[in-house]
Subunit: 378 residues, 2 copies
């Protein structure tokens, strides 16, 4: 088998330069030998998730991006606004590999039995640097895909499925009776909708367009609110009364949406109570897990005193539930990869294709329904 | 002793009317007989705390207040802005008694030994309706003051001392190494400063005027930042590096101060770390316990993902630590009432005096250093 492995292969990298630009390019790097508990994966599919964009594009102005170099080794250069640059000091001069997750074939394995057992298997892997032809990872970060699953179908087996499961687990750990989700028509949102339907968890889906509401309703969603409707606050309060959902996961971040959700939760919680000068005693929580709107979050604080808002990230959540918890969630993902946790892609591109300006313009916009898959084997 | 107790006595009340005003007045009410575990307190001193103002003034525009009636039974009427009125629906038409805490002499007691034991004693009491000549309370809500303590010195034995202790307990329960406090020159702030000095807890005091900084420094405060100084962000980051304080209690609420605190905490936490695209893993928390600025809270979210912000109230905190915890804190307050937990007042007024327009204008402003004490016995 070793004969098929090249000595050097391509890896996508993102470099912040001192003259305030980001350069994204393909680098030829040594293909590593796996250590005892590692496997070498020939990457065949890796999605571009919203969580990859920060590292990949560094908050640059992609509308002003330019491309140079040969077509199979393009170099994209985009200017960095002052505000983005301030947070990037520690990155200047280090070309960083990108790609949170992906899937492919194990073409070499370390001496440990756990590594040897994966040889020739198709695995999903998390751990970064997956936008590459080859990636060496510890077996800890591998998920063996069910027999017959191709890499394309397992490429998104980690970030979105674990995030959806993490939202549900967080709801249970923090004693809430239902969930609210914004940007609910996203790939992740559709997955969360399927998961909540299967678990009989009341899920309030907040979308921004009528056709997104239709999409979710046709997938069985019982509670959908359009935040652009003039009746949004009343609509949301009504379904929050029905569901008693007091935990929201918000992908938008900026603006007043988180505050509106808390206001409606409080209105629902205090609808049948008498006057209380500090509001209801029902704890209302919003976690911001994305930042589709990078502007400030504005809280009007007309929702009593029993509330919280905070950041939510997958990795600290997985640390919170521990190895056993993670193993339990991973088995579930593997078992339901083609149903509950299925992902779909609108575009498949090669490593070089991911650096085409029109592709960047599309995936940087994070439009609902658009999802790119990088195929390093193309 | 019963011979000295009148059948009826004065009680201050606040009434929201359907025509969008609040009326504050003195009502003559029956003096109740204590139940088995209750005592009747002749109230001799009750502070006007910021936490009383919501119930007392209901968010009314006190600059447009008018007064009518005889000088010993004034009726104050103030208009309610639309925004305030929206939250007051459940209060309309119910004249509510006011006054979170106070102190006085037990003049009658129920049959239970715990009640009888307090007869003739000076006690502090919490539980509302303390702006009155007489108040009947369960012994649960009484704190027997050390022998020789007069009511004036015990009037603020509950809200501020328990809040200061609650902040320190919350810091320990949630694993933080130090505290940040805003509006730090307040009565509560000075108390927290003395408590943290005694406990060797690093406390970062944020004030809004140079003379407030001087006041705290002369009381031994090691870390004081003036939020109006042009160097505020750098000053705050520097002391947060020194103290590793990652928990803030904010009395201001509105504006960008909470966000600035989180930004500086993140800068301090990541100062020596390499680049991390999601910011530091150090959890940073701000609790809003007041609303001196009623405007929206604005979060710029340039402080990574490990952060939280939420409301903090004394009563749910006391429920969280349970009866045993509360008893422990109360004993400490009693033992240090004239030192750590001493309060001082700039003005003492009768019940009618508390309804004078100039007095209302002063205490409604919640200016640092101004503190009113109602003396129902005057």
């Amino acid at each position: 088998m070793a004969a098929h492995i090249p000595a050097r292969a391509l890896q996508l990298r993102s470099l912040v330069t001192p003259d305030q630009t980001v350069q994204v390019f393909l680098d030829e790097v040594d293909v590593p030998e796996p250590g005892p508990t590692e496997v070498l994966v020939r990457v065949e599919a890796a999605p571009i998730n919203p969580s990859d964009l920060g590292l990949l594009l560094a908050g640059s102005d992609v509308t002003s991006a330019t491309v140079s170099g040969p077509s199979d080794r393009p170099v994209v250069t985009a200017p960095l606004p002052d505000a983005a640059m301030r947070a990037l000091g520690a990155r200047i001069g280090t070309a960083m590999p990108v790609g949170n997750e992906g899937a492919g074939t194990v073409v070499a394995a370390g001496s440990a039995p756990s590594a040897q057992a994966l040889l020739g298997k198709t695995v999903a892997a998390a751990g970064g640097a997956m936008y590459a032809q080859y990636r060496c990872v510890d077996v800890m970060f591998c998920l063996e895909l069910p027999a017959g699953t191709i890499a394309v179908d397992g490429a998104s087996a980690f970030v979105n499925p674990m995030t959806a499961l993490g939202m549900v687990e967080t709801m249970r750990l923090e004693n809430h009776a239902g969930l609210v989700h914004t940007a609910a028509a996203s790939n992740l949102g559709q997955m969360l909708n399927r998961l909540c339907l299967a678990e009989q968890i009341p899920l309030v889906n907040i979308v921004r367009r009528p056709e997104q509401a239709d999409l979710l309703r046709s997938a069985g969603a019982a509670y959908v609110c359009d935040s652009t409707a003039p009746t949004f606050m009343a609509d949301l309060t009504a379904v929050l009364k029905q569901t008693s959902a007091t935990l929201a996961f918000d992908a938008i971040g900026g603006g007043r949406l988180a505050s509106q959700i808390l206001t409606c939760m409080e209105a629902a919680a205090s609808a049948d109570a008498g006057f209380s000068r500090y509001g209801s005693a029902v704890h209302k929580q919003v976690y911001l897990y994305g930042s589709l709107d990078r502007g400030p979050t504005e809280l009007t604080r007309n929702f009593g005193m029993a509330w919280g808002i905070g950041g939510w990230l997958l990795t600290p959540f997985l640390q919170r539930i521990g190895l056993e918890g993670v193993a339990r969630l991973r088995s579930r993902v593997a078992a339901e990869l083609s149903t509950t946790f299925a992902s779909s892609y609108t575009d498949q591109v090669s490593l070089a294709g991911a650096l085409a300006l029109d592709a960047i313009a599309t995936y940087a916009r994070q439009a609902t329904g658009q999802k790119y898959l990088i195929r390093p084997d193309l």
